[in-house]
């Protein structure tokens, strides 16, 4: 399964893409890599809590897919979604601040790394339950048809999520009702420590769509141009034919599942093979080879990203903690059930 992806060269640059878009895509991929590395460092320092899932290695899949959509097309994702937010244009300051749990974060410190959301950029959120966000995307697609709009929804989920029943339910409804949804499976070949070969009866995950008479294909998720083209086609199809489709992007994550995974069960040889196809390095070659940018320009752009993320870390560090008085914001709760110290104490107990 992995051989076909590793063997072939980078796909041709799609005609619809111009030099400045390619430069921007390279910049985004590098921004995400830089952000993720800094987030890991801040996690080790204890500035970020909870789970931290990094997308290092998956930048081509994330950036290629997001770049092929209009900025108003809704996207949903998993808990491994810092990249999606950044690719969509969320302010890195607000993303980092969310990881720090500060008031200035994208979700005011209530969501954390797994639950970024940026409505302004039509990023409809990161969700923690595997498969959980898939039907939400179908609902967003339903709303587009309902209002006779021409948007397209993209739901991004992992290979592991294809084994949740809700994917079948969602695909069936999307096809049945002709909804403009792109089911984008980012197949990094593992769900935590479990290889796809031990979890899926058919490891060609794109074939799942066939049961619903939905077009689908597998693409090289390490090749940003291939991802861009595929999503571009799928979006065009959804906008004109009003039909869903599925894309399976074969990729690899370079770190463990989360910061707490020592990553000692995946074969070293396999890791090395996929590292050799680092999407940043391969795309840099394309960009330089096609004279899209000079080495100096790329160097400047990388330096600017490092400065940008430095700034995001300082911003997050300097941002205020969430006041405890705001504990029950945005939820209905009986007035007697929430006292500022936490814990429900019976009414009248303090009198």
């Amino acid at each position: 399964m992995t051989e076909s992806a590793t063997a072939h060269d980078q796909s041709p640059v799609p005609a619809s893409i111009d030099a400045s878009t390619m430069r921007q895509m390279y910049a985004k991929m590098h921004l995400i890599r830089t952000f993720e590395e800094r987030a890991a460092e801040q996690y080790m320092r204890g500035n970020i809590g909870g789970f931290l899932h990094l997308a290092i290695g998956e930048e081509a899949a994330v950036v290629g897919a997001v770049a092929a959509l209009r900025p108003t097309d809704p996207i949903t994702s998993t808990y491994r979604e810092h990249g999606q937010a950044l690719a969509r244009g969320s302010d890195p300051n607000a993303v980092m601040a969310e990881l720090f749990g500060r008031t200035t974060g994208l979700c005011n410190g209530r969501g954390g790394s797994m639950h970024l959301m940026d409505r302004e950029h039509a990023f409809y959120g990161g969700y923690g339950i595997v498969g959980g966000s898939i039907p939400l995307a179908v609902g967003l697609g339903f709303a587009i048809n309902y209002r006779h709009e021409d948007g397209v929804v993209m739901v991004m989920f992992g290979d592991g999520a294809t084994n949740q029943g809700v994917l079948s339910e969602s695909m069936n409804m999307a096809k049945l009702w002709h909804l403009p949804v792109i089911f984008f499976c980012l197949n990094n070949q593992y769900g935590m420590g479990t290889s796809i070969t031990r979890a899926a009866s058919d490891t060609e995950l794109f074939t799942r769509a066939q049961a619903f008479d939905m077009p689908s294909r597998r693409i090289d998720g390490m090749d940003v141009m291939a991802v861009y083209s595929a999503v571009n086609d799928a979006a065009e199809y959804a906008r004109t034919a009003h039909e869903p489709s599925m894309i399976e992007a074969l990729a690899y994550r370079y770190r463990g599942h989360s910061m707490s995974d020592p990553d000692n069960t995946r074969p070293e040889e396999e890791k090395a093979r996929w590292r050799a196809r680092d999407p940043l390095i391969t795309f840099e070659r394309v960009v330089l080879g096609d004279a899209i940018a000079t080495p100096e320009e790329l160097e400047q752009l990388r330096a600017a990203n490092v400065t940008r993320i430095d700034e995001a870390v300082s911003f997050a560090e300097g941002s205020p903690q969430v006041p405890i008085s705001a504990l029950a914001d945005n939820v209905y709760t009986h007035p007697w059930n929430t006292n500022p110290r936490g814990g429900a104490v019976m009414p009248g107990a303090d009198q």
């Binding site: 809590g49 909870g50 789970f51 749990g101 500060r102 979700c107 410190g109 209530r110 969501g111 954390g112 797994m114 639950h115 969700y127 923690g128 339950i129 595997v130 498969g131 959980g132 592991g160 999520a161 084994n163 949740q164 029943g165 769900g191 935590m192 420590g193 479990t194 031990r198 979890a199 899926a200 069960t265 903690q321 969430v322 405890i324 705001a326 504990l327 029950a328 939820v331 709760t333 009986h334 059930n337 929430t338 006292n339 500022p340 110290r341 936490g342 814990g343 429900a344 104490v345 019976m346 009248g348 107990a349 303090d350």
Partner: protein
């Protein structure tokens, strides 16, 4: 705090009984021991769950078991909770004894239909022709900044369902002994572990040291107020009792260990002596575990109570991510101490 098969009191002087392993092991390792011994004892027992084999479990509770028992009995699954919980029920209906691990309690929600509509129902609904001798283990609780979708305490949900038995161990001894009881029980057992307790150490019993369901334990004796808590909240209650002891307030801490069946007898006996009661519960207040225990205590002890029962719950909000906010949303020893003081103060008015 250590183990004691029947009733035990005081922090000091607890000793393991003759069959116990004298060494101190973690709550995590106690669970592993229980499973290893039951796998050895009964060929019908098998384990199934996500990443429990090769990866040895997200919390390493199944460490070493794949090597020892092989992939027929230690089965790694796809991420299909509804599917493999249902599979477990079917296997149990045919007489196997599945021990299903859900990576955390939060993912049981995906499988809730199978648990509530099938596991809890078939024995009754089919007139007793079949039973479901299955255990579903899962860690729960909050406190690690895992946010709103990964911080549930669903003791109350499961306790609500006739047909299920619900176990919430607080010590390594209880974790081992109760898991063995659960595996040998002929009904579906929801076995709720606490993420916050996996590293906690203490003595454990031997291969035949079991604790029957419905038998609570007095963790600390006292005279002024009875505090009822399970799982990690037992430790919060004990910490509160320490704080209050410095103020001359003597608390009795009762750990019912299972919430269905519930050792109401032990709780009522205590409350009839102390005349005051506070219930601590890591879940939410509405229709919660504490509310349920309090209702039972009112019915059993109304004439003995000198003040309304106090409840200490998680704040009635989805769990926030921000560290300080999350801490503020969870029951802490100070909150429990304050609830006890408030309950005692009511009497004096």
């Amino acid at each position: 705090m250590e183990h004691q098969p029947a009733r035990w009191s005081g922090h000091a002087g607890c000793r393991s009984v003759s069959t116990s392993t004298p060494t101190s092991v973690s709550y995590r390792e106690a669970l592993t021991q229980a499973m290893r011994e039951e796998l050895q004892r009964d060929a019908n027992v098998f384990l199934m769950g996500e990443d429990i084999g090769l990866f040895e479990g997200s919390f390493k509770v199944t460490r070493g078991l794949l090597t020892e028992f092989g992939p027929t009995r230690i089965v790694d699954t796809p991420i299909s909770e509804a599917g493999f919980v249902g599979l477990g029920i079917g296997a149990a209906m045919s007489g196997l004894r599945p021990v299903i691990e859900l990576m955390t309690v939060n993912f049981s929600i995906v499988a809730m239909d199978q648990i509530v509509n099938n596991a809890a129902k078939v024995r009754y609904m089919f007139g007793g022709q079949v039973s479901v001798p299955m255990v579903i283990r899962m860690p729960g609780g909050a406190g690690h900044q895992l946010g709103a979708q990964h911080s549930h305490s669903l003791e109350a949900w499961f306790t609500h369902i006739p047909g299920l038995k619900v176990v919430c161990p607080s010590t390594p001894y209880d974790a081992k002994a109760l898991l063995k009881t659960a595996i040998r029980d002929d009904d579906p057992v929801i076995f709720l572990e606490s993420e916050g307790l996996y590293a906690k150490k203490g003595p454990v019993g031997g291969a035949e040291d079991l604790i029957p369901f419905g038998q609570g334990i007095i963790r600390r004796e006292g005279t002024h107020c009875t505090i009822v808590a399970v799982s990690r909240m037992v430790w919060i209650a004990l910490a509160a009792a320490d704080i209050l002891a410095n103020e001359g307030i003597s608390c009795e801490v009762i750990d019912p260990r299972t919430t269905r069946p519930l050792d109401l007898g032990m709780i009522a006996t205590s409350v009839r002596r102390t005349n005051h009661c506070v219930v601590v519960d890591e879940g939410w207040p509405e229709c919660g575990l504490a509310a349920n225990v309090a209702a039972h205590v009112y019915e059993a002890c109304f004439d003995w109570l000198d003040a309304p029962i106090g409840r200490v719950n998680a704040a009635d909000v989805p769990m926030p991510y921000a560290h300080d906010l999350e801490q503020a949303a969870l029951p802490r020893a100070d909150d429990v101490a304050q609830a006890v003081r408030a309950t005692l103060a009511r009497r004096e008015r």
